[in-house]
């Protein structure tokens, strides 16, 4: 791929990718690292991109989402085995905690605390439900677009959103709402 072409793709999609990463991982440092990895992958795999199957934007979105989900899986398994590894590596100073620290610059609003609470609940949703909520509610994409990005049907997206809403409502009630 020509460097100039890559830079055009980067400048057109950098904010989209960075924001998606932020919504998933909820902190700037990890979002920057993942955005970097996403664009390296875009550069390496551009030859495999087929414009007939999806738009470039959809293709890049898929790469970003998959990277974020992989990152969260790795983080979760690291936490799961954190206790065991801390027994063998006594010099490890990483805290073992289930709470997610939110460092999302986009949440600096009047209802900051309520937003953070809601994002924390969304963070605990299953992968597909989380993706459906992030894309429709935060990224403001239509359900049709979300279905295309997730490579699924419109009905499946509707069902995922319905289940996500039920889970969020249940968790909000349990934690006493905002």
């Amino acid at each position: 791929m020509q460097e100039a072409h890559f830079e055009t793709i980067y400048s057109e999609h950098k904010n989209l990718v960075y924001n998606i990463c932020l919504h998933y991982v909820l902190n700037t440092e990890d979002a920057q690292d993942i955005t970097q990895e996403v664009f390296v992958k875009v550069y390496q795999r551009y030859q495999q991109y087929d414009a007939r199957t999806a738009s470039l934007k959809t293709w890049i979105c898929r790469i970003a989402i998959n990277h974020c989900l992989d990152f969260l899986k790795a983080k979760k398994s690291k936490k799961r085995y954190g206790f065991l590894s801390s027994l063998f590596h006594t010099d490890s100073i990483e805290p073992v905690s289930n709470a997610v620290t939110i460092n999302h610059p986009g949440t600096e609003t009047e209802q900051k605390e309520a937003l953070k609470h809601l994002l924390q609940i969304i963070y605990t949703l299953p992968e597909n439900q989380k993706t459906a909520v992030i894309l429709t509610r935060i990224e403001d994409r239509s359900q049709k677009e979300v279905a295309e990005i997730m490579n699924t049907s419109l009905k499946a997206v509707e069902s995922l959103l319905q289940r996500a809403k039920q889970t969020i409502q249940k968790k909000l009630t349990e934690t006493g709402g905002f």
Binding site: T35, F39, P105, L115, V133, R137, D140
Partner: protein
């Protein structure tokens, strides 16, 4: 509680600009990847040597499977007899 109203709160999240240094970091990583990648000649050399080693191993296994253990044993016995070697492991004849 109206969940749709609650979720509308998410629309307040502002779009964030990607930091300008990211492109430099990406360029650097791409450059590093190009440097660390092995040349094509090396890859071919490695693949060829691997194939040769595998072929030698397979031929050895096939040869070993084709050897007749009875014939081999008889040959060994002939050598032992001709050299008057002991076939026992005892050191002392008590």
């Amino acid at each position: 509680m109206d969940i749709n109203k609650t979720l509308d709160l998410l629309k307040q999240i502002k779009k964030t600009e990607a930091p300008p240094f990211l492109l430099t970091r990406i360029r650097q990583q791409l450059q590093n990847l190009q440097h660390t990648e092995a040349p094509v000649r090396w890859k071919w050399a490695f693949a060829t040597s691997l194939i040769i080693i595998l072929a030698i191993n397979i031929s050895m296994l096939i040869n070993a499977a084709n050897v007749n253990p009875v014939a081999e044993n008889a040959e060994a016995q002939n050598i032992v007899n001709s050299l008057n070697l002991s076939t026992q492991n005892d050191f002392y004849n008590e």
